[in-house]
C-alpha cells in the first residue's frame, strides 16, 4: 500500500479550500431562493477554515 504523502491535517485544509471554491461558485447562482443557502454553506466552510487557522493547523 502506498503511503499518503499528505498529512491528515493538511488534507483537511485542502478539502476545505476546495469546498470553499466550489461553494463560492454555487453562491454565484442566478436562483434567488438558493443563493442565500449557498452563501450560508460558503460561510460555514470559511468559518471552519478560520477555526483551524486559529489553532495553527493550517
Amino acid at each position: 500500500m502506498t503511503e499518503n504523502p499528505v498529512t491528515p491535517a493538511r488534507d483537511e485544509d485542502a478539502l476545505l479550500a476546495q469546498m470553499l471554491e466550489m461553494a463560492e461558485q454555487l453562491a454565484a447562482t442566478d436562483d434567488a431562493l438558493l443563493a442565500g443557502q449557498y452563501d450560508y454553506l460558503r460561510a460555514r466552510i470559511a468559518a471552519l477554515m478560520e477555526i483551524r487557522s486559529g489553532a495553527g493547523l493550517s
Binding site: 442566478d30 436562483d31 434567488a32 431562493l33 438558493l34 443563493a35 442565500g36 443557502q37 452563501d39 450560508y40
Partner: protein, 467 residues
C-alpha cells in the same frame, strides 16, 4: 382590496419554476420515491413504524404505489405518539435515526392538555426547518438584504421558535426577533428606528394587535413603512373584511401559511398570490414534494370531495428524525384539488378557515367553530378583540356570552354607536352560526395576554351542572 405588486418569485428562481411547471405525474412519482425510501428506512430503524407497516400489510416496508400506501399504512395520532414516548422515553421508538444524530428538539405546545409530542431532529432537519419557513416567505416577498420582523417568540423548544431565525438567515435577510421579549409599543419604536422594514411574520392575532397599536398612535403603516413588501400570517382564521383592511392599512399584500411541528415548518402557503382569489378566499397551495397531505372525512377516512372540509393527514417526505407517517393532525381544511386551483399541479386548501376538529362546539344543536365567530366579529373594524364563554344558565340552558373590546383607535365612539356595533356583531354571529349569543362590551385591558395564539373560548357548561 389592495393588491400591491409582489416581485415574481418564480422568475427569480429556476428551482421554483421547476416545481411549478412539473406535471402531476412527475410530482406523484417524486412522492412515491420518497415514500418508498422513508418506509424502507423506518422499517429498518423504527419499531413503532415497522409494527404498523407489518400490521397494515406493507411487508418489509415495501410500497409499490401511493394508492397502496394510503390504503395499507395505518394512521397515527397524538395519543399514539404520547404512548410511544411514555414506553420508550424520550423519543419513543419512532425516531428513525441513531440517537447521536439528534441535535435539535421540537416539541408541541401542549395547549391541548393531553401532553407534548417530542421530535428529535438531525442537522439536515434543522436546515430543512429553516428552508420550510424560507420557501413560503421567499414566495411571499422576503429577499436577501431585507429587514424582517419576526413577531413569534424565538428559541425554546418549538418549531416556530427556531424555524423563523433559520429561515431569515438562509434567505440572507436581517432578522429582528422581537416576539415575546418586547412590548408592542417597544416593537413600534424599534420599527420606526430601522430605516425601513420589508417583511413581518406574525400570528393572525398579533398582526391585528400590532396594526391596532400603530393606528392608536396615529401611525398609518403604509406611510410609516413604505418599503414593506411582505406580511405573512399563520395559526388562526380571519374574515376577508379584516384581511382587506390589513392590506389597505399596510399598502402590502397579505400572505398566509399552514405549518406545524409535525410538518417541520410550513406545508403550504399562498405563494405570491395573497389571501384573496377574486373577491373570495384565496388558496394555500401545498408543498406536496416535501409532505404528502391527504384530506379525509374523519369518520370514514375516505378522501373528501372537492370543496368539502376534511381532516389533514400528513406524511413527511424529507424529514430524517421523528418523521410522521400518515399522522392525523386534527386540523380541518377545505380541499381544493389542483385542477381547480388555477394553475400548477399543487393541491390546495382554502385560506383563513383552517380550524381544529376538536375545537368544534356543539351549541344548541349547531356545530360551531371559533373561526366562524372570529369571522363575524372581526368583520367589524371597530372591534379590537373578543372572547367567548359558554355556561349553563338557569334551567340548564346553554348560554353564550361574547365580550367585545373596542379597538383603541375607535375609543371615541359614542354610547349610541357602541350599542349599534354590539347589535351588529350579534346579528353577524347569528347569521354565521345560527345561534343567538349575548354580546357585551368589555374593557380592552381584559385582553392583554392575547399575543401569540389567542384562545378565545372557554366552555364552562359542566360547572353549571350542580345539584
Amino acid at each position: 382590496m389592495a393588491t400591491p405588486f409582489v416581485a415574481d418569485p418564480f422568475a427569480a428562481s429556476p428551482l421554483l419554476r421547476g416545481l411549478r411547471d412539473m406535471s402531476r405525474e412527475a410530482l406523484e412519482a417524486r412522492q412515491l420515491a420518497r415514500v418508498q425510501a422513508l418506509c424502507a428506512r423506518l422499517h429498518a430503524k423504527s419499531d413503532f413504524y415497522r409494527d404498523r407497516m407489518e400490521a397494515g400489510g406493507l411487508k418489509g416496508g415495501e410500497v409499490d404505489s401511493l394508492d397502496r400506501f394510503v390504503k395499507a399504512m395505518p394512521t397515527s395520532n397524538k395519543a399514539d405518539f404520547l404512548a410511544d414516548q411514555k414506553e420508550r422515553p424520550p423519543f419513543g421508538s419512532r425516531l428513525g435515526v441513531d440517537r447521536d444524530e439528534v441535535v435539535h428538539i421540537s416539541m408541541t405546545s401542549g395547549t391541548s392538555g393531553q401532553g407534548q409530542e417530542i421530535y428529535g431532529r438531525t442537522q439536515r432537519d434543522v436546515h430543512m426547518l429553516g428552508y420550510l419557513h424560507a420557501l413560503p416567505w421567499f414566495m411571499g416577498g422576503l429577499r436577501k438584504g431585507d429587514t424582517a420582523l419576526n413577531c413569534v417568540p424565538a428559541g425554546g423548544m418549538t418549531t416556530g421558535g427556531w424555524g423563523p431565525g433559520e429561515a431569515i438567515r438562509i434567505v440572507g435577510a436581517t432578522g429582528f426577533h422581537v416576539g415575546g421579549n418586547m412590548s408592542t409599543e417597544k416593537k413600534i419604536d424599534l420599527m420606526l428606528s430601522l430605516d425601513g422594514v420589508h417583511f413581518i411574520y406574525a400570528s393572525t392575532n398579533y398582526m391585528h394587535t400590532l396594526t391596532e397599536a400603530l393606528l392608536a398612535r396615529g401611525i398609518t403603516p403604509r406611510e410609516a413603512f413604505p418599503d414593506m413588501h411582505g406580511l405573512f400570517i399563520a395559526a388562526e382564521g380571519y374574515p376577508l373584511e379584516w384581511a382587506a383592511k390589513i392590506e389597505e392599512y399596510w399598502g402590502c399584500r397579505l400572505q398566509e401559511g399552514y405549518g406545524s411541528t409535525q410538518l417541520n415548518g410550513f406545508g403550504g402557503s399562498t405563494a405570491d398570490a395573497g389571501v384573496f382569489r377574486g373577491d373570495g378566499r384565496g388558496l394555500i397551495r401545498l408543498f406536496e414534494w416535501e409532505s404528502m397531505v391527504e384530506i379525509v372525512d374523519p369518520e370514514t377516512m375516505e378522501p373528501v370531495k372537492p370543496g368539502e372540509v376534511g381532516e389533514m393527514v400528513v406524511t413527511n417526505l424529507t424529514v430524517e428524525g421523528s418523521p410522521v407517517v400518515r399522522f392525523r393532525t386534527g386540523d380541518a381544511a377545505r380541499f381544493i384539488p389542483w385542477q381547480e386551483a388555477g394553475g400548477g399541479v399543487w393541491n390546495a386548501i382554502e385560506c383563513g378557515t383552517i380550524g381544529r376538529f376538536d375545537d368544534m362546539m356543539k351549541i344548541r344543536g349547531n356545530n360551531v367553530w371559533p373561526s366562524m365567530i372570529d369571522a363575524a366579529v372581526f368583520a367589524h373594524g371597530e372591534v379590537g378583540e373578543y372572547k367567548g364563554r359558554l355556561y349553563t344558565g338557569p334551567g340548564g340552558k346553554t348560554e353564550i356570552e361574547v365580550r367585545v373590546a373596542i379597538a383603541e383607535h375607535h375609543a371615541k365612539l359614542c354610547e349610541e354607536e357602541r350599542e349599534k356595533l354590539l347589535a351588529s356583531v350579534r346579528e353577524a354571529i347569528k347569521a354565521r352560526t345560527n345561534v343567538w349569543m349575548t354580546v357585551v362590551e368589555a374593557p380592552r385591558s381584559e385582553f392583554e395576554g392575547f399575543a401569540y395564539k389567542a384562545r378565545r373560548w372557554s366552555d364552562e357548561r359542566q360547572e353549571g351542572y350542580q345539584l
